[in-house]
């Protein structure tokens, strides 16, 4: 299937529904080149100052709002059953410990992950060779999209763990994009590498990132070469990775305290020489390897020191800068903005940075302290983050207990048909996942595995704007409709199936059949919204679930329950976490 066409039709399907209106993105989900580039998500953003602006532990009440806040921030949406499981664990320490427990890496989606799609060199007929080349390219593209679905499944099916949240966080820090990498096996390897290191050691993590095949391709590390052939020097130094390694992955442009530049243009050029020669392997295991023939062994001068530096030395020197503080500060800023609030609080980030250095670059103690801090549970923090599209979709699907067809990670089905060039036409195994992922990417701006540029998604206010709002609300509205809108017959989304069972959902609330409409309204809105609703909105919800007469109680009718789900899912409060 042609990604572009699919996107057009799915976009049109959404645009064509009355509830979902108008401002819909055009085809081409990878907005490589759309402004918003700069990552400033609002003017004059104010950091979130609370009574405690450090990592002092939270000692207040450990009640429902706190448990829910911890889980919503650590995970993608909060299904009622997981809230109950966390309550059963008891204390804050127990829940945080559970969230930070290492998980087993998920198995690969299919055996295709083990072998690159390469043209069959034994084919001699040029026409057949061209078809083979074409088919391999298509398969590759297909599997890149399928991988998005696989990743989404990891979020959708997560248990009580912060791993997937951290994986997405790091994918938006150590950015690669399949539009450039164009190798599905490398993108899979890269994604697992992020997950493996998500709560691990920062320095090890950066080394694995720097030698990751997808990264080597994405930032032209594989083209950063130096060789001497027949006595002639061929110097193809490419500075792309060296620059971003420092600017975006470790140090940032300037010292957080003095504002001085962290490095010079000469440092970038010299680091590029030290990083020459790394190439991705062509067979599994997929890693980067140093090809000595392509490596510049001359002396380089970096941060004022000279020597025959290579990858490890450069990374060591970057991490050693100012006792490690500058790297730690920069990275902790990312953790803070992902988990707490989109504008960094300098004092809290400072405390996190000191902790990261003290823990010898272990990430887990920093996150542990953050999730147990008084700052994290402040009333200013709860409900202050705009949901990313991944959070929005997962919270919708997980919180409303929406069922999706089983994901199949295998290669696409051969339809048995060929196109005019003789190439195979493939059929998607996971049309529902593809639809959701394309809406997420093309309409809402979060194309998993394919961020808009090397700085990643800007986040914060940039997620919710006049271009995305109607789609955010509209998808939510349709997903919890009854009878189900996405039932395999939706106009122009015929293969998409999302099953919402209103009565199953509402009965997740204990004693659902015995509550008054006021009690039910409160139970639902507290469970799925980060704000306790005021009288007007609460009354609306109560009115809807009781069938239009707020003074009397309700009986459980699927269409009324669905309407009350629609109220919750389309309130501005649902956009926040």
């Amino acid at each position: 299937m042609d990604r572009r066409k699919f996107l057009v039709s799915s976009g049109a399907a959404i645009a064509g529904t009355a509830a979902l209106s108008p401002i819909i993105a055009r085809a081409g989900s990878s907005d490589r080149g759309i402004p918003g580039y700069t990552g400033v998500a609002g003017a004059n953003p104010q950091p979130l100052l609370t009574l405690s602006n450090d990592l002092s532990p939270y000692t207040g009440v450990w009640g429902d709002p706190q448990v829910r806040h911890l889980l919503r921030r650590s995970m993608f949406g909060l299904p009622y059953s997981q809230y109950q499981a966390a309550i059963a664990l008891g204390s804050m320490n127990a829940v945080v410990a559970k969230l930070l427990t290492p998980v087993t890496l998920p198995p690969e989606p299919g055996t295709w992950c083990d072998k690159l799609y390469q043209v069959d060199r034994t084919i001699t007929d040029p026409a057949k060779l061209a078809i083979d080349f074409n088919n391999k390219q298509r398969l590759n593209k297909f599997m890149e999209q399928s991988l998005q679905g696989w990743w989404f499944e990891q979020m959708r099916k997560e248990e009580l763990s912060i791993t997937e949240k951290m994986t997405l966080l790091w994918s938006n820090h150590f950015v690669t994009a399949f539009d450039s990498v164009k190798t599905s096996q490398y993108m899979y390897t890269y994604n697992q590498m992020l997950r493996k290191n998500a709560l691990g050691n920062m320095k090890t993590f950066v080394y694995e990132v720097a030698t990751d095949p997808a990264m080597l391709i994405f930032l032209n590390g594989n083209q950063n070469t130096y060789q001497v052939k027949n006595g002639k020097i061929i110097d193809n130094a490419n500075e792309n990775f060296a620059r971003e390694l420092m600017e975006l992955f470790t140090l940032g442009l300037t010292d957080p305290k003095t504002g001085a530049n962290n490095y010079t243009e000469t440092d970038i050029q010299q680091a590029a020489l030290a990083l020459t020669g790394w190439q991705p392997t062509q067979t599994a295991p997929f890693v980067g390897q140093l090809n000595p023939q392509l490596h510049n062994t001359n002396s380089k001068t970096f941060f004022g020191q000279s020597g025959n530096f290579g990858m490890q030395e450069i990374i060591d020197m970057i991490f050693a800068k100012n006792g490690g503080y500058n790297v730690a500060y920069f990275l902790c800023q990312k953790i803070y903005t992902a988990l707490v609030y989109w504008v960094p609080n300098k004092q809290v980030v400072d405390a996190m940075a000191l902790k990261l250095v003290a823990s010898n670059w272990e990430i887990k103690p920093v996150v542990d302290a953050l999730l147990k801090s008084a700052h994290f549970y402040d009333a200013n923090v709860i409900g202050s983050q705009l949901k990313s599209p991944a959070e929005l979709f997962c919270s919708l699907i997980r919180e409303f207990a929406i069922d999706l067809p089983t994901y199949d990670g295998g290669e696409p089905l051969d339809s048995g048909k060929t196109d005019s060039q003789g190439g195979t036409i493939y059929t998607d195994r996971n049309p529902t996942h593809s639809y959701l992922l394309l809406a997420m990417g093309g309409l809402l701006g979060q194309d998993l595995l394919n961020p808009p540029n090397v700085k990643g998604w800007a986040g914060g206010h940039s997620w919710v704007n006049t271009g995305t709002y109607v789609t955010r609300k509209g998808i939510a509205y349709l997903s919890v409709s009854f009878p189900n809108y996405f039932n395999g017959n939706a106009p122009r989304a015929k293969n998409v199936k999302l099953t919402f069972d209103p009565l199953y959902w509402v009965r997740l609330i204990p004693n659902a059949d015995k509550l008054t409409s006021a009690q039910m309204s409160t139970a639902l809105t507290d469970a799925y919204l980060p704000f306790h609703l005021g009288p007007i909105e609460g009354e609306t919800e109560r009115y809807v679930i009781s069938g239009g007469v707020p003074e009397v109680d309700y009986y459980l009718d699927p269409s009324k329950v669905a309407q009350s789900a629609q109220v919750i899912a389309t309130l501005p409060e649902f956009q926040l976490v």
């Binding site: 759309i34 003017a43 271009g467 109607v470 609703l533 239009g548 501005p572």
Partner: protein
């Protein structure tokens, strides 16, 4: 609508899809104290109907393979594999400047140059250039010295000063945004200290449905979380009003055919539609990329430049066909140019680069010297910008000669508050910006013959403008007084007296039927005992 009615209605339709009034709950007012300067500018500088379309070339466009110094031997020496050759690559030479040429793919823009509609600014840059994509983009958007950081953009600051009350607590039903961007999220170009002055859309909407939720008020002294909730509600409100406004008024067809591939064509054809619809939106931002050609430049860059050139040519032709070309100028920018010496298959981040200003009102020609490629002229291997062509001088010229034309003597003060300092914010140590003479002299200063600033006497831009059948004119009076509001042709003959009576202090709004006026430019003039103000409107049939 009574709350009770809403509830019934809400129950009937689930959450329903029909419009409710949008003043549902504690929306923030963007207003803050206005300085006397702001008050003055707000009343005198919104005068003209000029529009600027900004095209962002994302990723850093390589200048040397865009405006090619093909006769310079150093060019070929620096670019053994990427260098373009006049004959082999079919370069399009500038007939009045035969040391420079555009790539063969840029025939559209070459023809605009040859027909006198393009100014080419050479060696645009700034002191202490930053080679980061992100910091570089920020510097161009926020228009600061290299070492100064700001969260606000030059367009946002300008619009914020001109429209201190934007957006109002209740956005009138048929409003147009001050600035509009095609894209995924609002650029910091459009931010001033109070937030965004523009909106972002991903395409022209074709239908709209407003929110029906009734909300509890945001608490006084709200937590940060409630402030964010307020932000979401504001976006909901803006989405409702502006998308409805676009749906109600848009022109659906362009007058020419745009390229069918690429992401720039739908953006520019959309801008042309909105301008032709009479939107008063003053600034549009579109983008194209990625120009970050570290590798594969030989294939990628010509394709991008060809798309750029074809789209801009179509856009210009479209505006001319609509009869609107004299009101619109287009300008390109990019975070940096690229390194003169190639890296084998591409070029790394560099500094100064050429940029284009296009439109019928542009004084055409190539400005500045050819790129100086000798090692001694480079700084750390990179091109040095031409002092005159600090990018902020281009911004200053675009403001002075185009966007603010007609604003009288206050223009310099306004430009300095956008580019030098405003309140407690400093953007640059420079306070004398050079006007480069990019635009032909406009007639707005003559039309806008307000004798002296009179507090409280204001005449707004008519809406829509251009006018097809009717338009709305708003004005306000400082006291109860006799008022004449007349429509004149450009030779000064009064064609119609719209208002001729005594009116109360405050705001007034009249509708003018233009159905019997032929297409053309007209002047509407408010005459009172306190003063006279006149503005232009365009009628397009």
């Amino acid at each position: 609508m009574k709350r009770r009615d809403f509830l019934k209605f809400g129950a009937k339709a689930g959450i329903a899809t029909t419009a409710l009034p949008v003043m549902l709950g504690g929306f923030p007012l963007r207003v803050l104290g206005k300085s006397p300067l702001q008050q003055l500018l707000a009343t005198s500088a919104t005068a003209n109907d000029k529009i600027l379309v900004i095209v962002q070339l994302v990723g850093g466009n390589d200048g040397l393979n865009c405006v090619v110094p093909y006769t310079d031997p150093l060019y070929k020496q620096y670019r053994p594999s990427l260098g373009l050759d006049k004959t082999a690559n079919g370069l399009l030479v500038f007939s009045d400047h035969d040391t420079l040429a555009l790539p063969n793919e840029m025939d559209g823009m070459h023809s605009l140059y040859m027909s006198g509609k393009m100014a080419l600014m050479q060696n645009v840059g700034y002191p202490n250039p930053n080679l980061s994509h992100f910091r570089g983009t920020d510097i161009w958007n926020t228009a600061t010295d290299s070492g100064i950081y700001s969260n606000t953009g030059w367009v946002g600051r300008m619009l914020g000063i001109l429209n201190p009350d934007y957006p109002p607590a209740v956005i009138p039903k048929d409003s147009a945004p001050l600035a509009l961007q095609f894209g995924a999220s609002l650029s910091n170009l459009f931010f001033d200290q109070n937030g965004g002055t523009g909106i972002v859309i991903s395409q022209i909407p074709d239908s709209s449905s407003a929110s029906t939720h009734l909300y509890d008020a945001i608490p006084s002294n709200p937590t940060i979380a409630y402030q964010e909730l307020d932000y979401v509600r504001t976006i909901e409100k803006e989405t409702d009003v502006y998308s409805q406004s676009i749906v109600d008024r848009k022109v659906t067809t362009n007058k020419v055919t745009y390229p069918t591939t690429g992401k720039l064509a739908p953006q520019l054809s959309g801008v042309a539609q909105l301008i032709a619809s009479g939107f008063s939106t003053k600034i549009y931002l579109v983008s194209q990329g990625s120009y970050d050609t570290h590798s594969n430049q030989k294939t990628d860059q010509p394709a991008l430049l060809g798309e750029l050139s074809d789209c801009i040519k179509a856009f210009q032709d479209d505006l001319e066909a609509f009869g609107l070309a004299d009101r619109v100028a287009l300008m390109t920018y990019s975070e940096f140019g690229r390194r003169p010496v190639e890296n084998g298959s591409g070029t790394d981040h560099g500094t100064a680069a050429p940029h284009f200003v296009i439109g019928t009102q542009v004084i055409p020609g190539i400005r500045g010297h050819d790129p100086k490629l000798a090692t001694a002229d480079l700084l750390s291997g990179n091109l040095v910008f031409e002092a005159q062509h600090d990018f902020r001088n281009i911004y200053a010229s675009v403001m002075y000669e185009w966007l603010l034309d007609g604003a009288g003597a206050d223009k310099d003060a306004l430009i300095n508050s956008v580019l030098t300092a405003s309140g407690s914010s400093t953007y640059s140590s420079t306070s004398s910006w050079i006007k480069l003479g990019i635009f032909k002299a406009q007639s707005n200063d003559a039309v806008n013959d307000q004798s002296a600033f009179v507090p409280g006497l204001m005449l707004m831009e008519n809406y829509p403008n251009p006018v097809s059948s009717q338009t709305t004119i708003e004005y306000s009076l400082p006291a109860t007084m006799a008022v004449e509001l007349g429509i004149f042709n450009t030779t000064g003959i009064e064609l119609e007296r719209v208002v001729d009576t005594r009116q109360d202090v405050g705001n007034h709004r009249v509708t003018f039927q233009a159905s019997n006026l032929p297409s053309g430019t007209y002047i509407y003039r408010l005459k009172t005992a306190s003063g006279v103000i006149a503005k232009r409107m365009v009628v397009v049939k």
